[in-house]
């Protein structure tokens, strides 16, 4: 069925507009669902039920929370830098939709299969750390400033292993185009051919999305709320929304790069459509991210930096070289 719909949409602007509407709906629903799931996972890991009151098993809790957030006053602290303070939450949300432009949900379910797909996602994901730095600094709040500084440190440490691990995959596919990267995994997912790169990517991606055990920019038990201490109401809501949408994007990229995207294992599709395979993988990865958060203690600032520079970067450089040699030999 999806094939006929996609074919009807053609490849021009109609496809982009339809895609945009679907993406808007999907990203909102996805964020609502993920926030609920996070609270449920947290609850069950801590042997409590999590939200139960609003709707069956609390499924409508996030909608109630969202309405509450809209009803909250937007307070700008007196001593803050007003313009930057207001811009930051908009800036953090601005780039998240762009990633969906190139994410491959199925063989034909890519809004626009650009030749720079992978680069586009990494280029736009950089905005989030910029927004965090702006917001944290503009707040003129000590906790927020510390959070912002840590966020930059984290980005400085984990951007490189992330890019290097991706590079190992690109060396094998010779393409940034998502459709080609996924198609190259028809028989073997890259997680079997590139286990080290996959592991490094996942660790670095956890750090890039500021998720525990790398949540030191937020670190609620030491920095109140880190970079968004001064943000209330819907401005906080935007940071939150962007974080959960970014989690989805990171998991989707991991699923496409290392877990075969829309394809089943070893070329067996088991009768499931590609979209289902893709979403299963993405949500399993998202569950793992949540599992991390509620079971691992937070790492210390210097441990975080040194782990990256002493372990992850040398390892990813070595992995890149080995890949380069092996690609030559085959």
């Amino acid at each position: 069925m999806t094939e006929t719909v996609v074919a009807a949409a053609g490849s021009g602007w109609l496809r982009i507009i339809i895609g945009l509407i679907v993406v808007l709906l999907f990203s909102q629903l996805n964020a609502l669902f993920l926030v609920w799931l996070e609270r449920k996972v947290a609850g069950h890991i801590q042997l409590r039920p999590g939200p139960m009151e609003v709707g069956p098993h609390g499924i409508l809790q996030t909608i109630a929370d969202g309405i509450k957030l809209v009803g909250k006053e937007l307070i700008t602290p007196r001593s803050a830098d007003r313009i930057l303070f207001v811009i930051a939450p908009v800036l953090v949300f601005m780039p998240v939709l762009v990633a969906f432009l190139v994410l491959p949900f199925d063989q034909h379910l890519i809004i626009r299969d650009m030749n720079v797909g992978l680069l586009l996602i990494f280029a736009f994901s950089t905005f989030s750390v910029l927004a965090i730095l702006l917001g944290g600094w503009a707040s003129n709040n000590k906790y927020a400033l510390l959070g912002a500084i840590r966020s930059v440190a984290q980005n400085v440490a984990y951007e490189i292993p992330l890019l290097l691990s991706v590079m190992s995959v690109v060396l094998m596919t010779h393409s940034f185009r998502f459709s080609e990267i996924v198609a190259a995994q028809h028989r073997f997912w890259f997680i079997f051919l590139q286990p080290v790169a996959g592991l490094i990517f996942f660790i670095a991606a956890t750090a890039e999305t500021n998720r525990a055990p790398f949540d030191i920019p937020e670190a609620e038990s030491e920095l109140i709320a880190g970079f968004h201490t001064e943000y209330s109401g819907m401005r906080f809501g935007l940071f939150f929304l962007a974080e959960y949408t970014n989690m989805f994007i990171v998991s989707a990229v991991a699923a496409s790069l290392f877990f075969g995207g829309w394809q089943g294992p070893f070329g067996f599709s088991l009768g499931l459509p590609g979209l289902v395979w893709f979403l299963i993988k993405v949500y399993i990865l998202l569950f793992v991210l949540m599992w991390f958060r509620w079971t691992f203690p937070r790492v210390r600032f210097d441990q975080l930096m040194n782990f990256s520079w002493k372990v992850m970067i040398p390892l990813s450089l070595a992995n890149l070289l080995v890949t380069a040699v092996v690609v030559k030999l085959i």
Partner: protein
């Protein structure tokens, strides 16, 4: 003039960014229309765990990781150069392999150097 396909790519990205901004701004506007306004002296005070705010946060602050940041800048630019190489890789007999090895080798020396210099040792401030 750009090729039509490329132009569509750029415009599509621009459209998605613009809609992202609109989607972020609209709830803020709705919120500022419907939300109740509070008043009081401490309303827009900087939050400091309920204590009175002490000074500004815009002070000189040791970003102890600035040397990491310097290596990062060098590294990030170098990694950038590897992307086109990764695309073209495999098209030449042995030359590209040698060049990648040399390039990554020199890149790795930066880490070895920083390691020997003790950049990765954090001393508590006396």
């Amino acid at each position: 003039m750009l090729p039509k396909e490329l132009l569509t790519d750029f415009l599509a990205v621009a459209l998605f960014v613009a809609v992202g901004v609109v989607f972020a701004v609209v709830p803020l506007i709705i919120s500022s229309l419907v939300a109740r306004r509070s008043s009081g002296v401490t309303r827009d005070e900087t939050y400091e765990s309920g204590m009175e705010t002490i000074g500004s946060a815009w002070i000189q602050f040791t970003a102890a990781y600035y040397i990491y940041a310097l290596i990062f800048v060098a590294f990030d630019v170098d990694v950038l150069y590897l992307f086109p190489v990764a695309i073209a890789y495999g098209g030449y007999a042995i030359r590209d392999l040698v060049e990648v090895v040399v390039f990554v080798g020199i890149l790795s020396l930066a880490i070895v150097y920083a390691w020997c210099k003790g950049v990765f040792e954090w001393q508590p401030k006396k």
